[in-house]
Structures are given as C-alpha cells and as structure tokens.
C-alpha cells in the first residue's frame, strides 16, 4: 500500500465540508442556522486555501469573512430575526426554477472545469510535496508594487514597475473606508424618530 496522500485526504475533507454546508445553507430555513452553516463552509474554504499554499489568504478568509462578515451578518440577524421573519418559505415553483437554472450552471461549470486539457495534468505527489508556499511577505510586497516573483519578467518596463498592485491596493483601501462610513451612515438608528413621527400622526 503506497504512502498515503495527506494533501488529497485533507482536500477531500475540507471540500466535502465546504460543499455540504453550502448546500445546508441553501436548504436551511432558519436564518441563524444558515449563518452558522455558512461560517462552517467558509471556514472549510479557508482550509482549502491553506492546502493550496495560500496561508495568508486563508487567514484573511477566517479573519474577514468568518470574523467580520459573519459577525455583521449575525448583527443583521439579531436585529431582524423575529418569529415570522426568521423563516420565510418560498413556493415550490421557485425551487424548481432555481434547481433548473442551478443545474444548468453547474453542468456548464463542470464541463468547463474538465474540458481544458492542460489543466487536467497535475504535478506528481512528490513534486507537490516539494513546492514551498510563497511567504506572505511576497504577497505584501506584491501589494506594495514590488513583485518578487516576477524577477524573470522579460518585459523591462513591466519589471521596472514590477507590475505590482499598489494602485489597486490604494483604491481598494479608500473604497473600503468610504463604504464603511457610508454603511455606518445608512445604518444609523432611525427607530426612535419613527416612533415620534407615529405619535405626531396620532395626535391630530
């Protein structure tokens, strides 16, 4: 019996978890449970990232999604999950439509995944074991516009600028700030004001 391929094993594990809980999200009714399942699914995806030598990305996934996004979601849930709202069933017709569309999409994607020939050929297990992940410093430098991995870039212009993502990084950062401010502005509580208006309406 040949040496077991732990990479494959863990991949299988995480993949199954991710897919299973994703489906659970689809079928679940209770919004909070959906959130819970989603967390698990995303966590599993983070595991997949780790397997694919993207530790930093995995950590970010955990931090941002499972930490930030999920907590945000839970906030929303807490504020809106009450009795009837918590679970809202949809008609069977919708389900069928969705199933058809989804199935078509899935078929298409799978066909695409297996159709391209030179994707299908993986490295051997030994090679995979030999591959060492790119340290997160490279990623950071890439964001800063210094591309360590492209030193053999033939195009001199691209090499001088290192074809990094500094601009994109800046734009994203500013965008994030703006969005968060805007979100805070949108989400500020207007409840009390509504009550007052209601009172005013009752008065005359």
């Amino acid at each position: 019996m040949e040496a077991i391929n732990w990479h494959g094993f863990f991949f299988l594990f995480f993949a199954i978890v991710a897919c299973a809980f994703a489906m659970a999200v689809v079928v679940a009714d209770n919004i909070v449970r959906m959130a819970c399942y989603l967390v698990v699914s995303l966590g599993a995806v983070a595991g997949l990232y780790f397997l694919a030598q993207a530790e930093f990305l995995g950590a970010v996934q955990l931090m941002v999604y499972v930490g930030g996004t999920m907590v945000l979601l839970v906030f929303g849930v807490m504020l809106t999950a009450r009795g009837p709202l918590a679970s809202m069933r949809t008609g069977g017709g919708q389900w069928i439509m969705a199933a058809i569309a989804g199935g078509a999409l899935l078929a298409m994607l799978l066909q695409a995944a297996f159709s391209v020939s030179d994707w299908a050929a993986p490295k051997t297990i030994q090679e995979q074991a030999a591959v060492e992940g790119s340290p997160s410093a490279r990623l950071g430098l890439g964001l800063m516009g210094v591309r360590v991995d492209q030193l053999e870039q033939p195009n001199l212009m691209l090499r001088r600028g290192m074809s990094g993502h500094l601009l994109a990084f800046e734009i994203i950062s500013v965008h994030l700030v703006v969005v968060l401010v805007g979100a805070a502005y949108l989400a500020r509580a207007k409840r009390r004001l509504d009550h007052k208006q209601a009172k005013d309406d009752q008065r005359p």
Binding site: A18, L85, A120
Partner: protein, 114 residues
C-alpha cells in the same frame, strides 16, 4: 478517482468552486429573506475566489508555468475586501429596509415594479 492515491489537481478545486458557486446562486434564487440572499452572494464570491486561488497555486499544475502566480492570491485578496465592504453596505440597506417595511422579505420591496 481516488484522491487518497492520486495527486490533487486543478479540476478538483474547480469542481468545489463550481458547487459553491451554484449553491450561492440557488441560495440567492430561493431565499426570500434578504440576509439569505446576502449569504448566497457570499457563497458565490467564495466560489470565484477559490478559482482564483486554485489558478494561482503553484502546485496544482504540471510544468513550470504556475498560471496566475501571485496575482491569483492578490485578486482573491481584493475580492475578499470588496466582499466585506459589500456585506457592510448590504446590511445597512437591509436594516433600512427593515426600518421602513418592518420586514426583510425581498418580495415586499417592489415599489419600483413596472
């Protein structure tokens, strides 16, 4: 194919991402709860991200060329950040929607229906 024996390849990742993606789409398509739709979007984004990472990963493909290389991870990073931003805005919208309509049922927000 026995993954315990064979090496993991690009197609495997693609399959997983495809499943996630479709789950997301179906979730968006079937949930009436606005937050459910939001979660669907998160799933879709994750599927896409997984693709980026897989294409960027050096170990999934034979031969020297490692596809997207670092760009895969970088783009995935951007996607995650944008997803966070989008979630924040979407939640804010949901809360406002709840304040005005006292519900999060997306079917009820159809004032602009033609």
């Amino acid at each position: 194919m026995n993954l315990l024996a064979q090496p993991v390849g690009l197609p495997h990742y693609l399959v997983v991402s495809a499943i996630l993606f479709v789950c997301g789409v179906v979730c968006m398509a079937t949930k009436r709860n606005m937050l459910g739709v939001l979660m669907g979007i998160e799933l879709v984004l994750n599927g896409a991200n997984l693709n980026f990472v897989a294409f960027g990963s050096p170990m999934l493909r034979a031969g020297p060329s490692d596809g997207l290389g670092l760009d895969g991870q970088l783009i995935a990073l951007f996607v995650i950040v944008l997803a966070a931003a989008e979630a924040a805005v979407a939640l804010a919208i949901a809360l406002n929607f709840y304040h005005t309509h006292a519900t999060v049922d997306v079917d009820r927000g159809e004032e602009l229906k033609g």
